[in-house]
Amino acid sequence: MKRKPRLLTVLLPAASLLALAACGSDNGSEDSGSGENNTEQNSAEEENAENDQAGSEGGEVNLYTSRHYDTDEALYEQFTEETGIEVNVVSGEDDELIQRMEREGEATEGDVFITADAGRLYRAKEADLLQPTDSEVLNENIPENYRDPDNEWFGLTKRARIFVYDPERVDESDLSTYEALTDEEWEDRILIRASENIYNQSLMASFIEIKGEEEAREWAEGIVNNMARDPQGGDRDQALGVASGEGDVAIMNSYYFGQMLNSSEEEEVNAAENLEVFFPNQEEEGTHINISGAGVTQHGPNSEEAVQFIEFLSGEEAQDDFSEANYEYPVNPDVEPSELLQSWGDFEEQDINLTILGENNAQAQMLMNEVGWK
């Protein structure tokens, strides 16, 4: 066998790639034409959708959602039963869905965008992906502070960023505020997940609004100093870290704690039952909350069905389900939170415009990067 200059044959492709690149051409913005449906949809249904008026039988609505809960799917079925409108679901991560809608432009199939973070709703609005909705029902069901000022998105459920602690090791009276957790006495005792997590970014974004950039940075720095371990895992893993004694206080989302208490793993339920919930900053500006919400997309083909669908989710029945089965706080003031949630007690909420969470998102992420919050 003749020996060939192997190294050369590896490098050659790379070199000619560069050469090709040099004569490449401009790849500008991503625009597109309009209204073409090109996915595996039932075309008969689509025709129906065009012919039908809102409110009548038939039709369909396409969701782009980053919420993938069984509760939601059950509600979709119920909506179809009540209205005859088919619900098609595309699930994905929120940022991914926003990217996709931007790329699809006017060709998008999505009628409703649903996500579990106010910051992402803001981002979708900023990217011109949503349209204003004028609905009496929504205005009535959803208090103003959980809605976009221009009615481009609507909050559907609330989650609080709470403390979870082990009452055997931490006395409730020692807990007070998010800020207090940066004190020296909490060194090596705090559990919280990575900064790439959107709920942490939104928490940080709210602090930038309330305290200003400098104090927010100091807070993040203080938390990093007091972390019991490098951030790892999801919200549920933080509570498990308290149960296992790796740390004493976990900062996590309320609804994940509800999930743990109702887990299909018996041992997880046992672990969670030994822990307690605390709502921080009650004497100050209130506990940080975030919302799950929905908006009607700018270019979706079934806007009327979309509005109907969101109205349905803001109704008492759906709101009750969100609270009972998914442990989220309802936004509809006529609906009581589930018993489990009530057992944790009432709490004051951070009173800021939720749009802020989106506006300050990038800054929040960068500040956390700068103080070394992994």
Partner: protein, 546 residues
């Protein structure tokens, strides 16, 4: 240089097919390079100052340590099952390949479930034995944890390649060493390792490329590598330009690894010391040696396959009712559809290119072959970025044509399965190509030349003479590609069309929703198909006389 001297009809025919494919393959990659030399995105300075070093260190640490440990584990196991005889050896021979059927991200889900505070291990210690062991010793969602997961599920690359080498090529050397009185340890380190260096390096390169390509495990564990960074900058920071730069740096790392591979493979060749190549005769092990060898191999199998499978089956039983619905059928259909079409295309292209390099040897075909297998060394996230920019560019240019012909007035290609399949073909071409190339190598050129001399046309020759002879290689290439695509995550996540979920994306989605038990059913489906394919493949290889 025969190609330029007298281009025969066959050379031209196969050559233009091969050239067409290579051009198609290079276009999206050249887009990437072009965009890389554009001004940086708005976040680049921030990424460079605070994050880049961390990404680089974590990525390199993972790849290098996993590489070293895979060599240790893979070669040791290959040596034990090749050179010694002990109970269950024949079963272990193929069973030790099985961890490869579990993609690292699924292995990570299972292990996190096993060792977290409420997992099987701690639960048993706590409730059955009343022992409290600090959870700190069991935390797995960190770099050492990721190293363990990658090693235990990827070592079979090294194991498979080196074992095949021991069995066929190293026999006489090893037996001579034994006859001349060299002890087992000395034989292993002085003879076996040096002669099989090329095989080991080949295997470990695959392992490291897999580590660099991984997105599922590192994103679940929260380890910051280039893959996660590309996704994050692109999606969360909405900064495609910075993401492309990160992709470029990652490609740079890959190139370094590939150059190192060439260097470490070395130029030394060990020829057979006799013409007859016979399988290595295993030595019977006795007493404690026998049992500890069995124990060692058994432990690896336990960790790399049995334990995670038990965990997944347990979760599967808890959740199958919720997951196993009509939707599940569509997941299976989507997965098989995408993998099937792509594997078929890979095989067709691979046959064209491999046939071209066979008929027209020389530097041109060497380069063509190199380009063809390039995609396998490019991490999925990087290919995805390139392919997506490419399709958007093309589609903008096609708007006029769409409107003119009335096909549509919007996006066609970039919202369809075409884009994903295109990316799969680029990424997994090498897998099919290597299999088919080796098929052609065994057949050689004599038969087709005879056929041509006897007056058959070049296409006719191909279909009547060549293709039937490489049938087996084509089949095995298809299976290997199919399994790889079934497990694939980053490309699928980025490029899949509207409403298109696969088994892999579903498992991933459940995991990122912290609903880990629900990942079991789709995961088991993937493992089942991969496992079955690998078993068939093993039988196939073992039966092959040489």
């Amino acid at each position: 240089m025969p190609f330029f001297k007298s281009p025969s009809a066959a050379a031209l025919g196969w050559g233009s097919g091969a050239a067409g494919f290579v051009i198609l393959l290079l276009l999206p990659l050249s887009f990437l390079l072009y965009r890389m030399i554009q001004p940086a995105g708005e976040n680049w300075a921030h990424i460079q100052e605070y994050l880049l070093l961390g990404y680089t260190i974590d990525t390199l640490t993972l790849a290098v340590i996993v590489g070293i440990l895979s060599i240790a584990l893979g070669t040791t196991l290959a040596w034990l099952v090749s050179a010694y005889s002990f109970p269950f050896r024949n079963t272990l021979k193929w069973a030790l390949l099985m961890p490869l059927a579990i993609p690292p991200y699924i292995g990570g889900y299972a292990y996190h479930g096993m060792v977290n505070y409420t997992g099987f291990v701690q639960r048993t210690l706590r409730n059955t034995f009343d022992i409290e062991v600090s959870q700190r010793y069991f935390d797995i969602m960190n770099i050492p944890g990721a190293v363990f997961i990658f090693t235990i599920f990827l070592y079979p690359y090294v194991y498979a390649i080196t074992r095949a080498f021991f069995a066929r090529q190293a026999t006489t050397l090893i037996e001579n060493a034994r006859v001349l009185g060299s002890g087992p340890v000395r034989t292993f380190f002085r003879i076996v390792l040096p002669v099989s260096r090329a095989a080991i390096v080949g295997g470990v390169t695959l392992v490291m490329l897999e580590v660099l390509n991984d997105y599922g495990l590192v994103s679940y564990f929260g380890v910051q590598t280039f893959s996660t960074a590309i996704f994050q900058t692109w999606y969360a920071l909405d900064d495609l330009d910075s993401a492309i730069r990160l992709a470029g740096i990652l490609m740079g790392l890959v190139l370094v690894f590939l150059v190192l591979e060439k260097v470490f493979r070395g130029r030394r060749q060990y020829s057979y010391s006799s013409a007859k190549v016979s399988p290595l005769k295993p030595r019977e092990l006795e007493g404690w040696k026998k049992w500890s060898t069995l124990g060692f191999c058994g432990t690896v199998l336990l960790l790399g396959f049995i334990l995670p499978m038990v965990q997944l089956l347990y979760w599967g039983m808890l959740t199958y009712e919720a997951v196993f619905s009509a939707q599940f059928v569509s997941l299976v259909r989507n997965s098989t559809l995408a993998s099937g079409i792509s594997s078929l295309l890979v095989v067709v292209f691979a046959v064209i290119v491999a046939n071209f390099t066979r008929i027209v040897p020389g530097w041109l075909s060497t380069i063509t072959a190199r380009f063809t297998v390039l995609g396998y060394s490019i991490p999925g996230a990087v290919i995805a970025v390139g392919v997506l920019s490419f399709f958007i560019y093309i589609e903008q240019r096609l708007q006029f044509f769409y409107a003119f012909s009335g096909i549509s007035s919007g996006l066609v290609l970039s919202t369809s399965l075409v884009m994903l399949i295109f990316a799969y073909v680029i990424r997994f071409m090498a897998v099919g190509y290597n299999s088919i190339e080796s098929g052609f190598e065994k057949v050689g050129r004599r038969y087709s030349e005879a056929s041509r001399t006897l007056g058959m046309g070049w296409l006719q020759t191909f279909f009547k003479v060549d293709l039937p002879m490489i049938r087996a290689a084509v089949f095995s290439g298809f299976i290997l590609v199919f399994v790889d695509i079934l497990k694939e995550l980053p490309l699928t996540l980025i490029l899949r069309p509207f409403n298109f979920e696969t088994l892999a994306t579903t498992a991933y989605r459940y995991a990122s929703d912290e609903r880990i038990q629900e990942t079991a059913v789709p995961s088991l489906a993937i493992i089942l198909v991969s496992g079955a394919a690998m078993y068939i493949f093993h039988i196939f290889i073992e039966k092959e006389p040489n």
